[in-house]
């Protein structure tokens, strides 16, 4: 019961932070709100017995990705002269379309009822996930690792001067 309540609290926090993220003009503020979204999601993960993933979420998303975004924003340090938005009709339509998509998705999700079973206590522990990753999901794991290598090289190459 406490867990359910906490999940809802974290969820509300995540949604609120998400909204703030897209509403703030200053990208650094947005980035911090983004960090808060990720943090609350990590909380939800932890409550759903995905402790390892919650920590990974904090380590990678909050500790690396958010920091990297903040870092690059600060590094580029542009002035905000151009960012005063023109409200175009297209953007108005875009919001409406997003709203329609939301309603459609709600129709799909609302129709679901997931009972769920209680997972074993060791579920979500590092050893368990590691075992699954390195046996059944070894191929995707290797592909992702190669992707990561490519991304590293590509990122360096793109951002390099000259």
């Amino acid at each position: 019961m406490l867990a359910t309540m906490l999940i809802y609290i974290f969820g509300a926090l995540a949604i609120f932070s998400g909204l703030m993220m897209i509403l703030y003009r200053n990208p650094i503020h947005s980035a911090l709100w983004f960090g808060l979204v990720l943090f609350s999601l990590a909380g939800i993960y932890a409550l759903m017995q995905a402790h390892f993933l919650a920590l990974i979420q904090i380590l990678v998303y909050v500790g690396a990705i958010t920091v990297l975004i903040v870092y690059v924003i600060a590094l580029l340090n542009f002035d905000q002269r151009d960012l005063v938005g023109k409200v175009t009709i297209l953007k108005g339509i875009a919001v409406i379309v997003a709203a329609i998509l939301f309603i459609e998705l709600l129709f799909y999700v609302g129709g679901l009822y997931v009972k769920g079973i209680a997972p074993p206590p060791e579920f979500g522990k590092a050893a368990n996930i590691g075992l699954a990753t390195l046996t059944r999901y070894l191929f995707p794991f290797e592909v992702i690792s190669i992707l990561l290598l490519v991304a590293v090289v590509g990122g360096v190459y793109i951002a390099k001067k000259d």
Partner: protein
């Protein structure tokens, strides 16, 4: 079927040698290069010998050892392993390949001494040994094909070794392309095999043929056999694809000895020996093999008569001798063919090495008309060369006699042979003896006709070249004694004198080729005829080139059209040129270029696609306005519409 876990070392050592020399050779000093290469090959040879003795320990009926190294391709029902197979056949072959290869590596140290691309030469040579041992040890036809292509590549690289010379590079290309034509047939054969047998492993195929051979379609088997034989004609220089081999003499002489005489060109023979059961089940294919082989043996021999280039003579003689081997294969005397393969490897390698020694001494001159009287300058070369010549001519007790005589006898005695084949064999033997002694007399006897600047530094080759020759000479003498036919054996009171055939017997036992039985006297008579023929050839050569040296010219003038025909090798190259190359060239020039390339490829393909893209883009570019958010919007809109449709539907 037992396992033998060190067989992979045989190809491994040369591969290491190749990698070391190939990658770092440029930086290494010469001694290091040839030590690396030689140690690699000698290690292979040592391993081969060890493996051979391990094979001997096994009971004769079960002499199949395998080394499963690695599962290479595994897809659907097809599994292709990198797996090595050692049975008596491949054991003989690997010993010949690594043994002769090792000797020629040693010889090359002396022969290639002043070459600037020393490291490249040894790297290629090691790569060749690697490929060849893969070919020989392969336990399935795909792996064999890997080796097959590998040796082809090495052959190409080594023929065109001095690629700065346009003509030599052209010879390399010619060899390569001719081999490609053959390989095309080979690949078709492999694919057809896969369809028929559902497996490509030799052992499995043999099992299928032994137990279910009768149920398989003879037509299909014949087709497979013929396709594979087409591959063999390419690699082993049989009619009609033999044309590359004489040109292959452009390469360094040790290469000619190793690749184009002793080992690679026998791959086709080996392949047929390996698939003897398949051929035994396809009599038509065997007949074709025998016929083609007979023709090759005869025509190549006639072509050799008129050649003046010392290496060309040997090249045609190689083609002719390969014809003998295929003849043996064609009549079902597989063991005899392999036996001749082995003895031929000894004496033909020796002949090439001897000629290389001569060329070395003559500062690169290959024309026999400029030689003569070299006997007193280079005694070791002369004596070893003479040994080999006697061997190839089939004079007892030299090695060639036993193997050749067995082939000639088998071609008569086999149920699949006949008098015609026998006659061709004997006539070819006469011609062989003739042109070989012509070669010897023109080169070593008579007076020296070489130019002055060459004459005074004719010298015997260094020990590093002569010692391999001496070893090969010894082998050319005694090499045949393992396969003495029973009638001779009885003369000396030896039971089971044909050890060689007995050793190979398990491999060929299931082919069940029937040999007619004749009395011993008949056999003696036939033997006498072939030896007599050889002696006759020698006598003619002696008369024409020692006694009456003016006569050859006169004869040539008298039969000028025939001489010219022979001298120009029956115009085969020209025929090929006008029949195939020129038409293709013309078609390319007139049709493929003027029409296909200009209108179809450029017009429709290149420019047309560009035009259609431009046309489409003119319409589409209004949507493509460079604003990423519009793209995302369209994307989301699409999702919304699809989802909405699914919801409503």
């Amino acid at each position: 079927m037992n396992n033998i876990y060190y067989l992979w070392l045989i190809p491994f050592f040369p591969l290491v040698g190749f990698i070391i020399n190939g990658l770092f050779g440029k930086k290494l000093p010469k001694p290091v290069i040839h030590w690396v290469a030689n140690v690699a090959v000698w290690s292979s040879f040592t391993v081969a010998v060890i493996a051979f003795f391990d094979l001997l320990k096994v009971v004769p009926g079960q002499r199949i050892l395998v080394d499963p190294v690695y599962r290479w391709i595994f897809t659907g029902g097809l599994a292709i392993d990198i797996k090595f197979l050692l049975d008596p056949l491949s054991a003989v072959m690997i010993l010949v390949v690594t043994g002769v290869g090792a000797l020629i590596h040693v010889y090359s140290i002396g022969y290639m001494h002043d070459d600037p691309s020393y490291y490249r030469y040894f790297a290629y040579l090691n790569l060749f040994i690697f490929s060849m041992s893969i070919l020989v040890l392969a336990s399935n036809i795909v792996l064999m094909f890997v080796g097959w292509e590998g040796v082809g590549l090495c052959s190409y690289l080594l023929i065109g070794f001095w690629f700065e010379d346009e003509e030599k590079a052209y010879a390399g290309r010619k060899a390569f392309i001719t081999n490609r034509i053959g390989d095309f047939g080979f690949i078709l054969g492999i694919l057809l095999m896969l369809v028929i047998f559902k497996t490509l492993d030799f052992v499995e195929i043999n099992k299928i043929l032994i137990y279910h051979g009768e149920t398989l379609s003879v037509t299909a088997l014949t087709l497979i056999a013929i396709f594979l034989f087409i591959g063999a004609t390419g690699k082993s220089a049989q009619i009609p694809l033999y044309v590359w081999l004489p040109d292959a003499m452009a390469g360094p002489t040790p290469v000619s000895a190793l690749i184009h005489a002793a080992t690679m060109v026998t791959a086709g023979v080996y392949m047929i020996g390996r698939l003897n059961l398949l051929y035994a089940h396809a009599p038509v294919a065997m007949a074709i093999v025998a016929a083609v082989a007979g023709a090759t043996a005869f025509f190549a021999a006639t072509m050799a008569i008129t050649q003046n280039d010392i290496k060309k003579v040997l090249a045609y003689s190689t083609v002719s001798q390969l014809g003998y081997m295929f003849m043996a294969m064609g009549v079902g005397a597989f063991a005899a063919g392999i036996f001749h393969l082995m003895t031929h490897a000894f004496f033909k390698a020796l002949l090439f090495l001897g000629s290389g020694s001569v060329i070395h001494a003559m500062s690169g001159i290959q024309d026999m008309r400029q030689m003569g009287g070299l006997k007193k300058y280079m005694p070791v070369t002369y004596w070893t060369f003479l040994t080999a010549t006697l061997a190839i001519s089939g004079i007892p007790p030299f090695a060639g006699f036993f193997s050749k005589d067995e082939i000639i006898w088998s071609s008569f005695a086999s149920s699949r042979g006949g008098v015609v084949l026998w006659a061709i064999g004997v006539i070819t033997a006469i011609i062989t003896a003739f042109y070989m002694f012509r070669l010897v007399y023109m080169t070593f006897h008579g007076e020296n006709r070489s130019p002055e600047e060459v004459k005074h530094h004719i010298h015997e080759s260094p020990a590093v070249m002569t010692i391999p020759m001496v070893i090969l000479a010894i082998l050319s003498v005694i090499g045949g004694w393992v396969g003495v036919s029973p009638v001779i054996g009885k003369l000396f009171g030896v039971e089971n004198s044909n050890i060689f055939e007995e050793f190979l017997h398990p491999v060929f036992a299931h082919a069940h080729i029937h040999f007619h039985h004749y009395s011993e006297a008949t056999e003696w008579w036939f033997m006498a005829i072939s030896v007599g023929g050889a002696l006759l050839g020698i006598l003619i050569a002696f008369y024409l080139y020692i006694k009456r040296t003016d006569l050859p010219r006169k004869i040539a003038l008298k039969v000028w059209p025939l001489y010219k025909l022979l001298f120009n090798k029956y115009y085969v190259d020209e025929i090929y040129y006008y029949l195939f190359i020129h038409p293709i060239y013309l078609i390319s020039l007139l049709f493929l270029w003027r029409f296909t390339d200009v209108y179809v490829i450029d017009g429709v393909g290149v420019n047309g696609s560009a035009k259609s893209v431009r046309f489409t883009s003119r319409i589409l570019k209004y949507w493509q306005n460079g604003d990423a958010q519009v793209y995302i919007f369209s994307f989301v809109l699409g999702v919304v519409l699809v989802l909405g449709y699914l919801l409503l539907a």
